[in-house]
């Protein structure tokens, strides 16, 4: 028993240290409350031969909603540039988007160009590939697993009730086994009227 506790405490200390180190690391990050106006980096590709724009203005705006402004405001490029003139990053990113659209690039190519320069952080949502699938599917898997486990537990509990019902039948505060639907209905009515 004492060994278990010691192991437990050692493990606890290890986790604490890891988290604390993580926390100390975080202190060294720049203040995220202030916008980083120097975060802009040019995204440039040569125009395609005989380039014609692949996107109209609405499609371009939709694309900009998938690109994250890099000034740490956590808004997408479109929202940031159209609601905040004090940000210099999103208008610059917007100009890059316009240039790439004029150069004949489609939405996927433009997104990839931004990813090549800024990394995946340029996108407002992770690309659906590789490890990112864990991000997308983990909630569904956990919920589905939880649902299966819960359903199995409910089934087991309802079986338990059927087994022990004869014992409980004589006890107060319980519904006797073999109660008919009509009797249950009367019980519900009686309970409701008691509440009133």
């Amino acid at each position: 028993m004492s060994l278990d506790r010691r192991e437990f405490l050692v493990g606890l200390g290890g986790i604490a240290t890891a988290l604390a180190v993580r926390g100390v690391g975080a202190q060294q990050q720049p203040n995220t409350a202030n916008m980083q106006q120097d975060a802009y980096r040019a995204v440039f590709l040569p125009a395609k031969a005989g380039a014609t724009p692949q996107l109209d203005n609405l499609q371009r705006d939709a694309l900009e909603k998938q690109l994250k402004c890099q000034c740490t405001c956590v808004l997408d490029v479109y929202t940031c540039r159209t609601t905040d003139f004090s940000c210099g990053v999103s208008p610059a990113m917007h100009r890059d988007v316009i240039r790439l659209v004029s150069g004949g690039y489609n939405a996927d190519e433009i997104k990839q160009a931004f990813v090549d320069v800024y990394g995946e952080v340029a996108l407002t949502a992770p690309v659906k590939e590789g490890f990112n699938y864990v991000g997308y599917f983990a909630p569904s898997i956990v919920l589905a697993t939880g649902g299966i486990i819960l359903t199995m537990m409910l089934r087991r509990w309802s079986l338990n009730a059927k087994v022990s019902a004869p014992v409980a039948a004589g006890l107060a505060n319980s519904v006797p086994a073999g109660t008919t639907d009509a009797e249950l209905e009367r019980l519900q009515r009686a309970l409701r009227e008691e509440e009133l």
Binding site: F8, N31, T72, L123, P126, G146, L191
Partner: protein, 673 residues
């Protein structure tokens, strides 16, 4: 007064040590004198924390710029209301504010339970005092709001303009009141685990605290959405920012607890699960605080960088470790009767409701922390934004909305087929009718269509429950509709207050769905220019520029654009949006420009004007039509009102009879008749 404040904080630290030591020692040795001394220690700690708070408020109001915090978050020309609210505008002050609320709650919990739950109370007091001690220690040592500057600046830096808003004056206190209240149920859970008194006794004591937390979190989140909507100027109210998510997490698990507690009260089941939910809700509150204050995750709400994050990380680990250890040694005591008479019962519906609520909490937490995980695993930074959260949570939200309507329709223990058919008929009809009408009217987007259809279904459930209850009262007591309604709610506040909360949920979801039809227009206006468009309801709007104005106000330079709207030819009030550049008493600009949006609010939609900027005499604006937004605030307030009704004290004899009514055999009933 500043010195008194700082000294008080140090004395509070010592008093906290006293309260923790004596309470735990008293509980361990079962010595009443030590227990009482520990309780008094907690009251004294609360008193000194209160005095420290008065000290900081005095420094803020009198602009004592020798105090670093005052110089950092206020300026001499800041309106008094914002000098007061600057108390929670920065890291150190908000830590003291947390201490103040925690001290008040801890003292109140100890005082109100002084003559009951005596076996639990030393441990409750000790745990609450320990949590308070942590916060006081972190405040004094790592984030002291009374820290002095080596020289006294002529003026302070001022308060961030985005915090100079009435909503921001009350939104953080509401959230803190909600967050901090989760620590009291945590104290009771720890006490119950230590004393092995894990029956319904401790749950009865924590239920009201859980409700207090829930009501304040509901108000805090709603006010936060309102603040984001009117202040941040991006046209929405929820962007799945990590700090927003952090406030949602304890709300979700707290909601799950308020449902599952009913199963333990009525059936003696779910002991382990309820402990997990109570502790989990508290830990999520602390995790939220860690996220906000450590700078570990990028957020518009983050406090300035500080070394407080490590404190919270350690505290989280310690709290998790203690709880896991206590639960592990009390597993046998937490065993409860695991019997369910039927798969189709209200108990089962509540458990699925718990699953969905906790599932949403998990997905929100997962999405919030996934960038860290991704960076740790792949070394690549990513962003998890709105599209991810919506993709995962919209279906879960719809499922939750459906369960909100299903749960009350199913009987406790076992529902008969006839009962289900009768109970579901009207709500299902109303839901289908709403969906069909909207489909015929041209709504084709699946999510809003489902949200409104399900809203119709849940509304049907609520109306049916009230109709039956009111009808029965009218028959039994001869009351008119109004009196029957009031007495029905007053007589069974838990049940009908809960339905009012559900009505708030319905309104909220219906309003959320409205934003799927949001329209945005980016327009450039010179003086006298006109812009015509149609709103989502097909009405024609004309906006005419009345020009740009530039003027000085109290502590800011203002550039404003005014538009005169007409709708279907009917002139509306002028809509104005501003860019504000704040300055200090010497006229130096402070902070970046801030936007003040113009909002014209109707029941159907908001017309939302944002001045993006000006170029010469031309104004770049965004005009949004945001459908149903006003209903978000109404839904949030209605939920809080419902929560208050549920929470309001009620005489024991008036409470729901539940299963105390025994089923009479048919022949016995016949004999009675």
């Amino acid at each position: 007064m500043t010195l008194v404040g700082e000294l008080s904080l140090w004395i509070a630290l010592l008093m906290g040590v006293w309260a923790v030591t004596l309470s735990f020692a008293g509980g361990w040795m079962r010595r009443e004198d030590l227990i009482i001394s520990g309780e008094r220690g907690l009251y004294a700690t609360a008193g000194f924390v209160g005095l420290a708070s008065v000290g900081l408020w005095t420094a803020l109001i009198t602009s004592d710029f020798s105090v670093k915090y005052v110089a950092s978050y206020t300026s001499a020309n800041l309106p008094t209301i914002y000098k007061i609210s600057a108390f929670w505008g920065g890291q150190a002050g908000s830590m003291l504010f947390w201490c103040l609320i925690l001290a008040g709650y801890g003292a109140a919990a100890t005082f109100t339970n002084r003559s009951k739950n005596r076996a639990l109370m030393p441990w409750v007091t000790g745990t609450n005092a320990a949590v308070l001690l942590f916060f006081v220690a972190a405040t004094v040592i790592a984030s002291n709001p009374f820290e002095r500057l080596e020289w006294i600046p002529p003026d302070g830096r001022g308060l961030n303009p985005q915090l100079q808003n009435p909503a921001m004056a009350i939104h953080p206190p509401m959230l803190y009141l909600g967050y901090v209240a989760t620590s009291i149920p945590f104290g009771f859970a720890i006490a119950a685990l230590i004393t092995r008194r894990l029956d319904a006794e401790w749950l009865g004591a924590v239920r009201r605290w859980a409700l207090i937390s829930w009501v304040f979190l509901t108000l805090g989140i709603t006010l936060g959405m309102w603040w984001a909507y009117i202040e941040l100027g991006w046209g929405g109210y929820w962007m799945w920012d990590p700090v927003e998510n952090a406030s949602l997490l304890p709300w979700l698990t707290g909601t799950a607890f308020l449902h599952s507690i009913m199963i333990q009260e009525k059936r003696g089941m779910l002991r382990k699960w309820n402990v997990v939910l109570v502790v989990g809700t508290f830990l999520l509150s602390i995790l939220g605080t860690f996220i906000t204050r450590s700078g570990i995750i990028q957020s518009v709400h983050s406090f300035a960088q500080s070394n407080i994050g490590a404190w919270f990380a350690w505290f989280l680990v310690l709290a998790i470790g203690v709880t896991v250890w206590l639960v592990s040694i009390r597993l046998k005591d937490l065993e409860s009767k695991a019997e369910l008479e039927a798969m189709i019962s209200r108990e089962a519906a509540f458990l699925y409701n718990n699953l969905v609520l906790v599932g949403i909490a998990f997905s929100v937490l997962w999405g919030t922390l996934f960038p860290i995980l991704s960076e740790a695993v792949r070394g690549t930074k990513i962003t998890v934004g709105e599209s991810f959260f919506n993709a995962v949570n919209v279906p879960l939200g719809l499922l939750l909305l459906a369960l909100t309507g299903i749960g009350p329709l199913i009987a406790w223990r076992r529902a008969s087929v006839a009962n289900i058919q009768r109970q579901f008929a009207f709500p299902a009809f109303l839901g289908l009718l709403v969906g069909a009408v909207l489909f015929v009217l041209g709504i084709r987007k699946l999510s809003p269509l489902m949200a409104w259809g399900l809203s119709g279904f849940v509304t049907g459930t609520i109306l049916q429950e009230f109709y039956k209850g009111i009808g029965a009262r009218m028959r039994m007591h001869g009351e008119n509709v109004l009196f029957a309604f009031v007495n029905l709610v007053a007589r069974n506040r838990r049940r009908y207050g809960g339905y009012i909360v559900h009505a708030g949920i319905v309104i909220l979801f219906a309003a959320f769905a409205g934003m799927a039809f949001k329209q945005e227009h980016d327009v450039t206006f010179a003086d006298g220019d006109t812009f015509k468009t149609k709103d989502p309801f097909g009405r024609e709007w004309t906006f005419t520029s009345e020009g740009i104005s530039r003027f000085k106000a109290l502590n800011r330079d203002v550039v404003a654009v005014s538009l005169r709207p007409t709708v279907d030819g009917v002139v509306q009030p002028v809509l104005t949006s501003e860019k504000r550049q704040h300055f200090d008493t010497r006229g130096n600009p402070t902070f970046q420009e801030a936007t003040e949006v113009g909002i014209m609010s109707f029941a159907r939609q908001d017309v939302y004007l944002v001045l993006a900027g000006t170029v010469g005499d031309r104004a770049e604006v965004r005009i949004n039509f945001n459908p149903l937004v006003a209903w978000v605030w109404i839904g949030g307030i209605l939920m809080a009102v419902g929560g208050l009704i549920v929470m309001w004290p009620q005489e024991e004899r008036q409470r729901q009879g539940g299963y105390r009514t025994e089923l009479q055999p048919q022949h016995a009933e016949a004999a009675t008749v």
